[in-house]
Amino acid sequence: MNIYVCIKQVPDTEAVLNIKEGKFINEENIKWIISPYDEIVLEFALQLKEKNSDFKVTLITVGPPRAESTIRSGLAMGAENAIHIEASDYLDHKTIAKALAQALKNEGDFGVIFTGKQAIDDDASLTHIYLAQSLEIPVVTNVIGFQMEAEKVIVEREIDQGAREKIEMSIPCVIAATKGINDVNEPRYATLMGIMKAKKIPIKKISIQDLGIEGATPTVTTEKLEAPPEKPSGRIIEGEVTESIKELVRLLKDEAKVL
């Protein structure tokens, strides 16, 4: 079976982000990584492959040329193939999903398509839904458990208050996984051998223009980007212990409104 893992290149979790022209992120000096949820689900997909020798794992991403380094990292972990749909950044989720869907249709034979439950840059949680819609196949989000049977998959998804919902669905389908899917919490390290092998794998490059999805008007555009307001500094309540505790409780109730 052909397994596809959708990966997104995002700024490192520790990157200091600056805003450019009120709308964009200044990309200078940013370290780019594979979005952590994508990395976990890639790890999971690779483990599936190790148990099923006829599975093939292909990475697919929509992104600017710099996204290639993220693809190489995924290949170094052990994916066999990769598709890079080259596009300028700042596409809306629906357009990205359409591009992914079209490229997958062109590939033809896809089975399970994995994504992370969200990308950690904009945390939108939209692409996998649009993708499933474009391909007219089922999608489940927040997937924490995954079993496969002959023609179907049985998944468990996290819902409110730690409860789990069990869903059966046909293949092909889109699975948006959360951290801890089948207890996979850590991605593997790329081995030196893996890095060498990855170097030799050709990445299939497709220009987004060639996918014929033009005219897809973006449903979302960025109007303005601003940093969150700075946190006010902490406050120390002075005085007698009994008095200061009363004051603390009052502040928590009336000002912070957390009690």
């Binding site: 380094s69 190489r72 990292s73 170094a76 390290y189 790329a190 081995t191 030196l192 051998m193 893996g194 890095i195 060498m196 990855a198 170097k199």
Partner: protein, 385 residues
């Protein structure tokens, strides 16, 4: 750190080994150091990610990478822990290296795969109680009788020779006299566990406390004639070549250790407040950090140049000695500043900088002291001719 002119793969190697060192080595480094414990488990993990046999052809289980990639990997391990970097540097340069470069097909097939997996370690037995800087003064003898080498003598300070996974030592021994009257030296492969070969782990070290260091004793130890490494009488030449390569790895430890200590010092100096301001803002401290950063960049440029010369097949013996000398001495200055910037806390084991301070000292002594490096360099630049 500017990774100017590195290939994509080299950048990926740095990133991957950095993640590994921070994730797997950093959490246990202090504890292993404290208990002088060599870790079989961690060595295997280092093998799994590919830290052994980096420059060895995949045919024998290596990764088939160039020397600069190897050096970057050692640098990244040393940025976190000197002891594990020692296991890796000696494992590759002194254990795997001579076997790979001088061994015959059969020897390579027999030993290399498990060494490259990090399941076993090989060692390079050169130094003796009476033969340190003057390694050619070897007293250990190997006599060929009935197609068996009979070995007698002892070795000291041999890295990776006495651990639970040490599999074989390449022993430098006198195998006769040359026509010019000098000793004929040859290397012989002696598997650990051979009767007459005893190892004793050396304890109470100041530094590299979780790296394995052994004393070796040979008492009528017999191994088959075919255990000769390369040709008879090539021992001295093999030793010199191995040390040239090894110096690059020791230099990488100096560079990586400097980087690690500098980062610790930088972080601490910005967090520590005295007189109401971070101590990094006092000019005397800021200048220390500036000097550290400058020397580290210089050291990196020199060492990477040496690696590129080796990759290009150019003579690199002089620049290898320069790199080893410079990188190890830079680390001496860097750790001195780094501990000074930590004040009293820098003298306590809770602060990793203390370990860097101790681990540095070996680097100006092992694989040729700083004095011997200066001797090598001064010969190369023609001071004695």
């Amino acid at each position: 750190m500017e990774d100017f002119e590195l290939s994509e793969e080299q950048k990926m190697i740095r990133a991957s080994i950095r993640d590994f060192a921070e994730g797997e080595i950093a959490p246990v480094a202090e504890e292993l150091d404290e208990h002088e414990q060599f870790s079989v488990e961690l060595t295997k993990k280092m093998g799994d990610i590919g830290l052994f046999g980096i420059f060895v052809n995949p045919e024998y289980g290596g990764s088939g990478l160039d020397y600069l990639s190897y050096i970057i990997a050692v640098e990244e391990v040393a940025r976190i822990d000197g002891s594990q970097a020692a296991t890796v540097a000696a494992g590759n340069s002194l254990g795997i290296g001579p076997l790979y470069y001088f061994g015959n097909q059969k020897q390579k097939e027999k030993w290399l795969p498990e060494l490259c997996r990090g399941e076993k370690l090989a060692s390079f037995g050169l130094t003796e109680p009476e033969a340190g800087s003057d390694a050619s003064a070897t007293k250990t003898t190997a006599k060929l009788e009935n197609q068996q080498w009979i070995i007698n003598g002892s070795k000291i300070f041999i890295t990776n020779s006495s651990s639970p996974i040490s599999s074989v030592c390449m022993v430098l021994a006198k195998t006769g006299k040359r026509t010019d009257g000098k000793d004929e030296l040859s290397s012989i492969l002696v598997p650990n566990g051979t009767p007459g070969f005893e190892t004793k782990t050396m304890k109470k070290k100041l530094m590299w406390r979780s790296s394995d260091t052994g004393e070796l004793y040979f008492d009528d130890c017999q191994v088959p004639e075919e255990n000769l490494l390369g040709k008879r009488g090539e021992g001295f030449h093999q030793m010199m070549e191995t040390l040239d390569n090894g110096r690059l790895a020791i230099a990488a430890m100096g560079l990586g250790g400097s980087q690690g200590a500098y980062e610790l010092a930088m972080k601490y100096s910005k967090e520590r407040h005295q007189f109401g301001v971070p101590i990094s803002t006092f000019q005397v401290n800021a200048f220390k950090l500036a000097d550290m950063a400058t020397e580290i960049e210089t050291a990196r440029a020199l060492l990477y140049k040496a690696c590129r010369m080796k990759n290009a097949g150019l003579p690199f013996s002089k620049i290898a000695a320069m790199s080893k000398l410079y990188c190890s001495e830079v680390m001496g200055r860097v750790v001195d500043h780094a501990v000074q910037l930590h004040g009293g806390y820098g003298l306590m084991k809770e602060y990793a900088v203390e370990r860097f301070y101790r681990d540095q000292k070996l680097l100006t002594i092992g694989e040729g002291t700083s004095e011997i490096q200066r001797l090598v360099i001064s010969r190369h630049i023609g001071c004695h001719s």
